[in-house]
């Protein structure tokens, strides 16, 4: 059962070093043969690469745990990445910080659906906002 009191919960900052090898690995795993990822000396990240925050975000930096979505009924409903300029390149050190933006309920044909949204902002070392990720999870009745 989703805990609506998780709204507003903010995680501790976490570090995501954008690494060349990780970009190449991710590009291959998504069947890309684009030299912009596989050959460039300082490749940009693929559009969905910041999902690799999975590796670096846990415990106090992951407020999603407070949502307490039932894993047997929880689904990834939507995902969005916004880049506030060109995507970050290998060699960039990003600081990510996540917050629980909303919990909303909607009546569906088969009962109540509960949507939870987590927003993660990524800043570079100069403090510029580089990217924003938005995860929407849904728990079915």
């Amino acid at each position: 059962m989703v805990d609506a009191s998780a709204v507003g919960r903010v995680g501790e900052p976490f570090t995501l070093d954008v690494e060349r090898g990780k970009i190449r690995e991710f590009a291959r795993a998504t069947h890309s043969q684009n030299p912009a990822y596989l050959q460039a000396e300082d490749p940009v990240v693929p559009p969905t690469f910041l999902t690799t925050a999975f590796f670096w975000q846990s415990g106090a930096s992951d407020p999603w745990e407070a949502v307490a979505m039932d894993q047997r009924k929880g689904l990834h409903a939507e995902q969005e990445f916004v880049f506030h300029g060109p995507p970050p390149r290998a060699g960039t050190r990003l600081t990510g910080r996540s917050r629980i933006e909303s919990v909303t309920r909607k009546e569906g044909r088969r009962g109540t659906l509960t949507f939870a949204v987590m927003v993660t902002d990524f800043h570079d070392e100069a403090g510029n906002l580089v990217a924003t990720a938005k995860l929407t999870g849904v728990e079915t009745a």
């Binding site: 990780k22 690995e25 991710f26 590009a27 291959r28 795993a29 998504t30 069947h31 890309s32 684009n34 912009a36 990822y37 490749p43 940009v44 693929p46 559009p47 969905t48 999902t51 690799t52 925050a53 999975f54 590796f55 047997r72 689904l75 990834h76 409903a77 939507e78 995902q79 969005e80 990445f81 916004v82 880049f83 300029g85 060109p86 995507p87």
Partner: protein, 135 residues
């Protein structure tokens, strides 16, 4: 414009994506766990399909040009399925700061025509990287 077909997807495709992304949910690789969760087999990752859609889009509009990428997951995909990513350029416009942008609508469809993932993307318009597709 040419679509991008991948498949049939294998368990190895799923595992390789899990290793790359860091999402190690066992429902995507552990046969027993997946069956206990009511699946016929390990379920593919929505984010793998999203990644394939991103591959299609960045091949056409340039890796450095992506400005936003959003997906909504609509149907499950399993190993053995063949998925096709495609998209349409729906809008060319100028942002408030004067930079030219393109909006795309994307789909990832399984072999029976079911749309598994819907997507929306915005790219900076870079004529050099475009394949000349008309709006």
């Amino acid at each position: 414009m040419t679509s991008f077909t991948v498949g049939p997807l294998t368990r190895t495709d799923l595992v390789r994506y899990q290793g790359a992304s860091g999402d190690f949910n066992p429902i995507h690789h552990d046969e027993e766990f997946a069956r206990a969760a009511g699946m016929k087999a390990p379920l593919s990752l929505g984010m793998l399909q999203a990644g394939l859609m991103a591959t299609w889009a960045t091949d056409r509009y340039g890796a450095q040009n992506v400005r936003s990428f959003r997906v909504r997951f609509a149907a499950q995909v399993f190993p053995g399925d063949t998925v096709t990513c495609d998209g349409t350029l729906v809008r060319r416009y100028t942002a408030e700061d004067g930079s030219p942008l393109l909006d795309l609508e994307l789909t990832c469809t399984t072999q029976d025509g079911t749309v598994a993932v819907y997507g929306w993307a915005t790219f900076a318009a870079d004529l050099a990287a475009s394949d000349g597709d008309a709006a």
